[in-house]
């Protein structure tokens, strides 16, 4: 580690580090956790990553993270209506869980704060992956609460669960753990939102056991002046199936990391991403997917709509280990750029060490086609509406691939909302 690399910290870096002193006494955790927090803080003192760090090349965190607000009282944040009807809502308000509901049958729900206090969290999980793991470091230093879910073997949850990380401005740092038992089946929504300018981080880890089937939906709808750093990680058992649907439609600075290990033979991972970027948003989705077992299967489809002065990034890295023969992986990233000042960078990377695999990727950046526009207009639809229909259709294609009609409708309603505000 080169301590001299950055000798002066930015204002935001200083504010972040300084905010730890005042916050520390409120943070849960046993002695081990405290050690991890201190280690993470030491990393932060070396400065945030810049574009010179490969993983942050398109998102110069040090430059883009310009302000760090102070922490706010818990009582100011309120839970929001769930995406799906009948969902069991599990809110974290300004970084704290209170009034925890008893979970539905088949799920044991615990507070993350209690787990930290009891020393139930593996040290590794509170350690930044490397010097430049800013998401891991900030969250490890500051994490205050969240939920820990254990879904029983063979349980098929009748209703979806909805985890909410809600702020009222200020800083929030949450974590979620979900362990899906063998052959269990569930739909979980993760909401990242709030009101007011904030700095929010959130990390989620899933352990999907053999034969389990999970649909996990991340809805990131942060206010326009909020910085959000998130990470979703998952480990898949034999024949496990995970669909991760990520919809980013807010935030000023957003980094959503996805780290998945398809480690069980015959496991399947699907990433479906929709990025709706407007205003001056900068949104970065960075995925690292490891295929480490034979016969694993993955597809990643991203559809991005970028308007105004917004800027989007998708980095998709697929690594296929030598043992992972017969891996089938397909990645596609398609973007509609609706303004000259908007931008999108896409960086696919395949690292293949097995010889019998089928892997591919493709990326396109386009505008709406005149031919399509004219066809609609010649039937009596005005230009604005025709554009709206075409843009919506472009993203709706990804949503409509999902199986559950109620999920499709709920997500499409969010789409319509976004277009009403930004169209």
């Amino acid at each position: 580690m080169n301590v001299h690399a950055q000798n002066t910290l930015t204002e935001a870096e200083t504010a972040l580090i300084d905010s730890f002193a005042g916050r520390f006494s409120d943070l849960p955790g046993d002695a081990d956790v405290t050690v991890r927090r201190d280690e993470a803080l030491e990393l932060l003192k070396q400065g945030l990553p810049t574009r010179r760090v490969e993983a942050w090349h398109y998102t110069d965190l040090r430059r883009l993270l310009s302000t760090i607000p102070a922490f706010k009282p818990v009582s100011e944040a309120e839970a929001v209506a769930p995406l799906l009807d009948h969902a069991v809502v599990l809110p974290v308000l300004n970084g704290t869980v209170h009034d925890r509901e008893a979970g539905p049958e088949g799920v044991a729900i615990a507070r993350l704060a209690d787990k930290l206090q009891e020393g139930a969290v593996e040290a590794e999980w509170l350690t930044a992956a490397d010097r430049f793991d800013a998401v891991g470091a900030v969250n490890a230093a500051f994490v205050s609460d969240g939920y820990w879910l254990d879904i029983e073997e063979d349980a098929e949850l009748e209703h979806p669960l909805e985890l909410q990380n809600i702020h009222a401005g200020g800083q929030v740092h949450a974590r979620f753990v979900a362990n899906f038992g063998v052959n269990s089946k569930a739909t979980v929504v993760e909401r990242q939102t709030g009101a007011g300018s904030a700095f929010a981080t959130s990390m989620t880890h899933l352990d999907v056991a053999d034969g389990a089937e999970v649909l996990w939906i991340v809805l990131q709808e942060q206010p326009d002046d909020t910085a959000y750093l998130g990470r979703f990680s998952a480990k898949l058992g034999k024949g496990a199936k995970l669909t991760l649907f990520v919809m980013n439609s807010g935030g000023k600075l957003v980094r959503q990391e996805v780290k998945v290990v398809a480690g069980g033979e015959g496991s399947e991972f699907k990433l479906r991403g929709v990025n709706l970027l407007g205003g001056e948003a900068h949104c970065d989705v960075t995925m690292v997917l490891d295929h480490t077992a034979p016969d694993t299967f993955s597809t990643e489809t991203l559809r991005n709509v970028v308007t105004g002065k917004a800027n989007g990034v998708f980095q998709g890295q697929i690594r296929v280990a030598q043992i992972a023969q017969k891996t089938d992986a397909k990645m596609a990233c398609n973007t509609l750029l609706l303004s000259d000042e908007a931008g999108f960078s896409s960086k696919p990377e395949l690292e293949i060490f097995a010889d019998d695999v089928a892997c591919g990727h493709g990326a396109t950046v386009t505008d709406i086609e005149d031919e399509h526009l004219f066809y609609l207009m010649s039937r009596g639809i005005d230009e604005k509406m025709a554009r709206g229909l075409l843009v919506k259709a472009f993203v709706a294609e990804v949503i409509e691939e999902l199986e559950d009609q109620s999920v499709i409708e709920a997500l499409e309603a969010r789409l319509v909302n976004w277009f009403a505000e930004h169209g």
Partner: protein, 253 residues
């Protein structure tokens, strides 16, 4: 009904603009069917795009009016609301937009532009069912995205479905017959004929006499190099089918 006078139009951007329609004059009175024939590249499709307002097609002279209204100044959707309809030579695939959503949006937009009430959902569905049945279109197809994965003939039938749903009063059929099997040709022709009325008119662009056996034209025009070089009754189509365009072109030269 439709009156085109000395129309001149170019295709393409600025310096590369190419004059395709060349002082063209043509009138299609209400209640009539006019066929437009002519060799490949004569400007038939171009004329249909100019009349419906496609961008990239610039009118540099002359006029075109529909029932006295200057349509060339209008946006494409306004022309549609006035009753213009083009059955495309090459219908476009629109991923993600289901046929029913599209047609209903179009119908209601047109109605709104005309200051009429929206159609109710049940009425729309009923109408759609009847027309789909008449055109032997599978109901499932109407839930699929517009033209995506449709066969050539299905695309053409879908154009006619849209036409019958929207009930325009000036119909332009650009080679709707190409790609249709014999039964489909008959079905499509029946659809067009069902719309014929004293206050509607039809412009049929075709290369083949066969369609004109079913949709019988009052007048046949030969278009060549962006101009009408000959007009005649329906026998002209028969004559062209037998002898080709050479004689007609030579006589006009």
């Amino acid at each position: 009904m439709l009156k085109i006078e000395n129309l001149t139009a170019t295709v393409g951007e600025a310096e590369e603009a190419k004059q395709i329609i060349n002082r063209l004059t043509l009138e299609v009175p209400a209640g009539e069917v006019h066929a437009i024939m002519g060799p490949n590249g004569a400007g038939k499709s171009t004329l249909s795009y100019v009349l419906t307002g496609r961008s990239g097609y610039e009118v540099t002279g002359g006029s075109a009016t529909l029932n006295g209204d200057d349509i060339l100044e209008m946006e494409p959707e306004e022309r549609a609301a006035k009753g213009m309809f083009l059955s495309f030579q090459y219908p476009v695939e629109i991923p993600g937009v289901p046929v029913m959503t599209f047609v209903r949006t179009a119908m209601n937009s047109q109605r709104k532009l005309r200051g009429e009430e929206e159609i109710s959902a049940p009425d729309f569905i009923k109408k759609s069912r009847e027309i789909a049945k008449q055109l032997k279109l599978d109901a499932e197809m109407l839930k699929r995205p517009v033209n995506v994965g449709f066969s050539g003939g299905e695309k053409k039938r879908l154009e006619i479905y849209q036409m019958m749903m929207l009930e325009p009063n000036f119909l332009i059929l650009d080679e709707t017959d190409s790609g249709l099997d014999i039964d489909a040709l008959k079905i499509v022709a029946d659809g067009v004929n069902a719309l014929r009325s004293p206050d509607r008119a039809v412009m049929v662009i075709t290369h083949y006499q066969r369609l004109l056996d079913y949709i019988v034209p009052d007048t046949v025009h030969v278009l060549y190099r962006g101009q009408v070089i000959k007009s005649g009754d329906k026998d002209l189509a028969l004559e062209l089918e037998k002898n080709g365009y050479t004689g007609v072109i030579d006589a006009a030269a």
